[in-house]
C-alpha cells in the first residue's frame, strides 16, 4: 500500500524534523506539529523552504520540522536581517521565520519593525509565551500588565503587543492564534506562507514550565477561557477548487496573489480583515475587556513586497555570473578613462 502523498508527491513524514528538546507539553511543540501539517498540505517543496530563526526556545523549533530543508538559527533578535538577505539572494526561496516574544519584542523589536516596513516576502511566526524560558522564567515584553511570575512577582509594565505594533506599521498580514487551536493555526500558517509580503502570525504558546500557573495570562487555562475568535478560518490552496457553500453574507473570501483563498466564516460581530482601523479597534477592545482576540486581523493583498519594489529579478541573484555582474572590457576601459 502506498503512503498518502501531497500534491508534490511527498508523504507527511517528509515534513518531519529532529526530535524536540523542548519540555513535554510546550506550546511550541504543538506549533511545530501544526507547521508540519500546514507545510505538508500546502505541498511546499522542502528544498525551496528556508527556515530562519533567532535565539530562544522558539528559535530551536525549525530543527524539529522539515529536516531536509535548509535552516539558519542566527543571533538573538536578528532573524529578520538574515531573512531579508537570504530572500534578496534568492527570491525563489520560501522564507519561514520562527521567533519568540523575547526575540521579537525586546532585542529584535527594531528588526521586526523594519522587516514589516519593507514588507519583505516572508512568514514571521512568534511563539509567544510571555516569558524567557531558557533563562528560567523572567518576564518578556509581551507579558501583560499585572500578570504574575511563577514565584509571585507581578509585571508592572505595559505589554508590547506584536500585532498592534504590526498594524500600526501597516503590516500587510497580521494574525493571532493560540497553539492549542490547530484548526485555526494551520490555515493561518498556510495563508501566511501564500501571502506575498510580510505575514506576522503571533501564536500564544504557553510555557508549561515557567508560565502556566494561575495569575499568568499566557497559560493554557487562561487562554482557553479568554480566547475570542473573530472568524472561522479556512484556507483553499491555488491547486484546489473553491467550493463555497455557505449562505451569502456569512463568509468573507480573500483571494491571495497566488490564486489561493482565505475563507472566513463569521462568528460574532462581522470583522472586515481588509480594514486596518477595524483591526486596531478589535485588538484595543479585546484588551480593554481582558480577552485574547484570535484570527486573521488584517490582510492587504495589493501592497508591493520588498523585492518587487527593489525591482530585482525573479531569477535568483545568487545565480548571476561574471557575464552579468562584471563590466565588459569595453565598459571597464571607458569607465577608467573617466577618472583621468
Amino acid at each position: 500500500m502506498s503512503a498518502t502523498v501531497n500534491h508534490v508527491g511527498l508523504p507527511r513524514d517528509a515534513y518531519k524534523g529532529a526530535a524536540t528538546t523542548l519540555c513535554a507539553g510546550c506550546g511550541h511543540n504543538s506549533i511545530t506539529n501544526h507547521m508540519i501539517k500546514a507545510l505538508y498540505e500546502l505541498g511546499v517543496e522542502p528544498h525551496l523552504l528556508a527556515k530562519m530563526s533567532g535565539i530562544g526556545c522558539s528559535s530551536k523549533t525549525p530543527a524539529y520540522f522539515v529536516e531536509t530543508a535548509h535552516g539558519f538559527n542566527g543571533v538573538h533578535g536578528r532573524m529578520p536581517a538574515l531573512t531579508t538577505g537570504a530572500h534578496l539572494a534568492n527570491r525563489q526561496l520560501i522564507m519561514l521565520g520562527v521567533s519568540g516574544d523575547g526575540d521579537t519584542a525586546s532585542i529584535g523589536l527594531g528588526q521586526f519593525m523594519h522587516l514589516i516596513r519593507r514588507n519583505v516576502d516572508c512568514t514571521y511566526i512568534i511563539e509567544d509565551n510571555g516569558t524567557y524560558g531558557l533563562t528560567k522564567g523572567q518576564f518578556s515584553a509581551t507579558a501583560d500588565l499585572g500578570s504574575m511570575q511563577k514565584k509571585g512577582a507581578v509585571n508592572t509594565f505595559q505589554p508590547i503587543d506584536p500585532c498592534a505594533v504590526a498594524l500600526a506599521l501597516g503590516c500587510s498580514f497580521v494574525a493571532r492564534s493560540f497553539s492549542g487551536d490547530g484548526k485555526q493555526v494551520v490555515p493561518l500558517i498556510k495563508a501566511a506562507i501564500a501571502h506575498r509580503g510580510t505575514a506576522i502570525l503571533d501564536i500564544v504558546s504557553p510555557c508549561v514550565t515557567f508560565n502556566d500557573h494561575d495569575g499568568s495570562t499566557k497559560s493554557y487555562s487562561w487562554v482557553k477561557d479568554h480566547e475570542e475568535s473573530i472568524a472561522d478560518v479556512s484556507f483553499i490552496p491555488f491547486f484546489e477548487e473553491v467550493h463555497v457553500d455557505y449562505e451569502p453574507g456569512t463568509v468573507r473570501d480573500v483571494r491571495l496573489h497566488d490564486g489561493s483563498h482565505i475563507v472566513l466564516k463569521k462568528l460574532g460581530e462581522d470583522h472586515d480583515p481588509t480594514n486596518r482601523q477595524a483591526a486596531i479597534r478589535v485588538i484595543e477592545e479585546a484588551r480593554a475587556e481582558g480577552h485574547l482576540v484570535t484570527g486573521l486581523l488584517y490582510v492587504d493583498t495589493a501592497m508591493a513586497d520588498f523585492a518587487s519594489t527593489e525591482e530585482i529579478p525573479q531569477r535568483p541573484l545568487k545565480d548571476l555570473g561574471e557575464a552579468e555582474l562584471r563590466l565588459s572590457r569595453e565598459q571597464f576601459a571607458q569607465f577608467m578613462s573617466e577618472f583621468a
Binding site: M52, G71, F72, L88, N90, G110, K318, Q331
Partner: protein, 600 residues
C-alpha cells in the same frame, strides 16, 4: 627675489564647510594634474553640514609624494574664524592669499600677502544671487592660478572635468575663475618664488581616484549582488559610489530589472545580518562601515566565522574610541577587527595600501570569502578612502569568480547524498557547503551559531567542539598562504620598516629622504592578516625593525611581535602617529633619525 621654487609646494585652502569650497579645490587639483604635475590632495573636514572650518591641502611635488605635508607654502585664507591660526601654519617665505577685509595688522612679516577683496568681487561680478556663495570660491581658484601661473587651458579642463555630469555649470564657473584671474593680473606683481610649470613623465597613464570609489568598483567587478549598509562617515561614499555604478552597469538592458540589491538598513546590526543572510543563500554580499558600526557587527561576525558563512565587510577606519573624531583618519581598528567577536575568533583581514589595492582587494575579497567560507574584512581608512590619489589605471580581471566548495545537485547525486557540512574531506580545513534551493533531499542542513558536529547537528560534546575549533585554525592556516603576500623592498640594510595601509605613502617618502641622507631602510608592507611567514623572515634579516602605524598602542607592532620566535621579539620597535591627521613622512623620519643616529 629668491630662486624660483617650481612644482614643489603645498597649498592650503582654509574655508567654511558647506560653502562649496570643495568643488573649487577639486577644480584646482584637476587643473594642476592636467599640467602633468603630481598632486596629493587631503581634505580635512569637520563633522558638520555647514559653518565649521574646513581645510583642503593640495600637495604638489615633482616626485609625486602622496603623504600629507606638515608645511604650508601657499595659504588661501577664506575663513575669518580661523584666520589668525591659519596664518601661523605658513612656512617662512610662504604666500598668503587672503580676503582683503582680514586684518594683517601685527601679523607676520616673513610671508608675502596678496589681499583680495573676494566679497566685494563676488558681489560686483557674480550675477546669480543663488550661486554667489558657491561661485565666490571659484574666484580664489583664479587668484591661485594667477599667482602660480596655471595656464587658462588647464583651468578650463579642470572645470569641464569637475562638471562632467553638469556641462551647463561650466561657463558660469569659468566666469567666476576669470574674475580672480583677471584681478590678480590687474592688481599684483609676482613677489614670491612659487611657480607651477607643465611637466612630463610623472602622471601619464594615471588617474585620480578615491579609495572608496576604487573599492566600490572592485566590489562591482567582484560580483557583489546583495549589499546592505548604514550611513556612516567615512564609509558612506563606498556604498554611494556602488549604487551609482550599479545604476549604470547593473540594469538588465532587456527587462530593466536590477541585477543587484542595495539595502539601506536600519542599523549596522541589520546591515551585516542581511549581508550574512545573502552570503548564506549564495549571493556575493557585502556591507561597509566604520568604527561605531564595526563595534555593532561583532556578534554577527562571530556567527559568520563559526557557522562559516561568506561575507565581505569593509571597515573604513576613523578615529575612535566611541564617536571619536568622525572625520579624522586612523588605523586603530586593526587589532579589534582581527579578532572581532567574543570567543576564539580570528579573521582574514585584507590591508590595501594604495587606491589600486582598494580596487583589487575589494574585488578579490569575494573570492576569498567564498573560498574560505568566512567573513573577509577589508580595512581601509578615511585618508585612503575619501581623498583623491594618483593611481595607475586598474586592470581588468582575467580570472573567473572562485565560488569555492559548493556542492550542486549533480555533485550530491554523484556521492549519493553522502556529505557532511563540516567534514574536512580535503584536510585543508575548508569544508563543503550546499546552498538553499538545491534540489536534492540530502542538500539541506541546519546552520547554527551554537555548537555543532560535522553534520551541523546541535552538540555540546567536548570533542566535537574542540575538533571543530581546531579545524577552523587549519582553515585559517590554509587561507594565510593564499592571501596577498607582503611587498618587500630591500637592499641589505640592517634596519627595516614594516607598515600597512595608508601609512605606505609616508613610508615611501621617508625612505627616499633617508636614503638621500645616507641611510637606506628596507621595507616590508603587510597586506593581509594573519601574517605571512615572510614577516618573521624579514625581521630575522634585520638588526632593528620599526613598525610604523597610525594608532596609539602599536597594534600591528603587537601582532608582529606575537608572530615572532622569542629571540627576534626584541628587534622590533614601534613608531606611532595618532592625531587624526594623515601621517606625514616626518613622523617616520624624525624617530628614525633620532634612534638610528644617521650620519649627517
Amino acid at each position: 627675489m629668491t630662486e624660483p621654487i617650481v612644482n614643489d609646494l603645498t597649498i592650503q585652502a582654509a574655508t567654511v564647510n558647506g560653502s562649496g569650497s570643495q568643488t573649487a579645490n577639486l577644480v584646482l587639483t584637476r587643473a594642476i594634474f592636467h599640467m602633468g604635475v603630481p598632486v596629493a590632495p587631503k581634505n580635512v573636514f569637520p563633522s558638520n553640514i555647514e559653518g565649521l572650518p574646513t581645510w583642503y591641502q593640495l600637495r604638489i611635488t615633482p616626485e609625486g609624494h602622496m603623504a600629507r605635508s606638515d608645511k604650508v607654502d601657499v595659504l588661501v585664507a577664506f575663513n575669518v574664524a580661523t584666520w589668525r591660526q591659519d596664518l601661523t601654519t605658513v612656512r617662512a617665505g610662504g604666500v598668503v592669499i587672503h580676503e582683503e577685509a582680514f586684518s594683517t595688522a601685527e601679523a607676520r612679516t616673513d610671508v608675502t600677502y596678496y589681499a583680495v577683496p573676494f566679497s566685494k568681487l563676488a558681489k560686483a561680478k557674480i550675477q546669480s544671487d543663488t550661486l554667489r556663495k558657491q561661485l565666490a570660491n571659484m574666484i580664489y581658484v583664479g587668484v591661485v592660478a594667477g599667482v602660480l601661473g596655471i595656464p587658462w587651458e588647464a583651468l578650463e579642463h579642470g572645470v569641464r572635468r569637475q562638471f562632467l555630469a553638469k556641462p551647463k555649470a561650466v561657463p558660469i564657473n569659468l566666469d567666476a575663475i576669470k574674475v580672480g584671474y583677471d584681478y590678480w593680473q590687474d592688481n599684483f606683481s609676482k613677489e614670491d618664488p612659487y611657480r607651477l610649470e607643465a611637466m612630463t613623465g610623472r602622471v601619464e597613464g594615471k588617474a585620480l581616484v578615491e579609495g572608496n570609489q576604487a573599492a566600490a568598483l572592485g566590489a562591482l567587478m567582484g560580483g557583489a549582488s546583495v549589499v546592505a549598509w548604514y550611513p556612516i562617515t567615512p564609509s558612506s561614499s563606498l556604498c554611494e559610489y556602488f549604487i551609482a555604478y550599479s545604476d549604470r552597469f547593473r540594469v538588465d538592458p532587456k527587462t530593466g530589472e536590477k541585477l543587484v540589491s542595495v539595502v539601506q538598513a536600519e542599523d549596522e546590526l541589520a546591515a551585516v545580518g542581511m549581508a550574512i543572510g545573502a552570503g548564506w543563500a549564495g549571493a556575493r554580499a557585502f556591507t561597509s562601515t566604520s568604527g561605531p558600526g564595526i563595534s555593532l557587527m561583532a556578534e554577527f561576525s562571530g556567527l559568520a566565522y563559526y557557522a562559516e558563512v561568506p561575507v565581505v565587510i569593509f571597515d573604513i577606519q576613523r578615529i575612535g574610541p566611541s564617536t571619536g573624531l568622525p572625520t579624522r583618519t586612523s588605523q586603530a581598528d586593526i587589532g579589534f577587527v582581527y579578532t572581532l567577536s567574543h570567543g576564539d575568533t580570528k579573521h582574514i583581514v585584507l590591508l590595501p595600501g594604495t587606491v589600486e589595492e582598494c580596487y583589487e582587494f575589494a574585488r578579490d575579497a569575494f573570492d576569498y570569502a567564498d573560498r574560505f567560507q568566512t567573513p573577509i574584512f577589508v580595512l581601509s581608512d578615511l585618508d585612503l578612502g575619501m581623498n583623491l590619489w594618483m593611481t595607475p589605471e586598474f586592470k581588468y580581471p582575467e580570472k573567473p569568480f572562485d565560488r569555492g566548495k559548493v556542492l550542486s545537485k549533480d555533485d550530491l547525486e554523484k556521492v549519493a547524498g553522502e556529505w557532511a557540512r563540516y567534514r574536512d574531506v580535503d584536510k585543508d580545513g575548508v569544508t563543503y557547503r550546499t546552498l538553499p534551493g538545491t534540489d536534492h533531499p540530502a542538500a539541506g542542513y541546519f546552520t547554527r551559531g551554537s555548537g555543532h558536529d560535522e553534520n551541523a547537528r546541535y552538540t555540546e560534546g567536548a570533542d566535537a567542539y574542540a575538533n571543530n575549533m581546531d579545524r577552523l585554525v587549519r582553515k585559517l592556516e590554509t587561507a594565510r598562504h593564499a592571501l596577498p603576500a607582503p611587498v618587500i623592498d630591500e637592499a641589505g640594510s640592517s634596519v627595516g620598516l614594516i607598515a600597512f595601509g595608508s601609512t605606505h605613502a609616508a613610508v615611501v617618502e621617508a625612505r627616499e629622504t633617508l636614503l638621500s641622507a645616507g641611510q637606506a631602510i628596507d621595507y616590508l608592507r603587510v597586506r593581509a592578516l594573519p601574517l605571512s611567514d615572510d614577516v618573521a623572515a624579514f625581521v630575522e634579516r634585520h638588526e632593528r625593525v620599526y613598525v610604523a602605524e597610525q594608532n596609539r598602542d602599536g597594534q600591528l607592532f603587537d601582532i608582529v611581535r606575537l608572530a615572532l620566535p622569542p629571540a627576534l621579539v626584541d628587534r622590533v620597535r614601534s613608531i606611532r602617529h595618532y592625531n587624526g591627521q594623515p601621517i606625514p613622512a616626518a613622523a617616520i623620519i624624525e624617530p628614525l633619525m633620532d634612534r638610528e643616529a644617521v650620519p649627517a
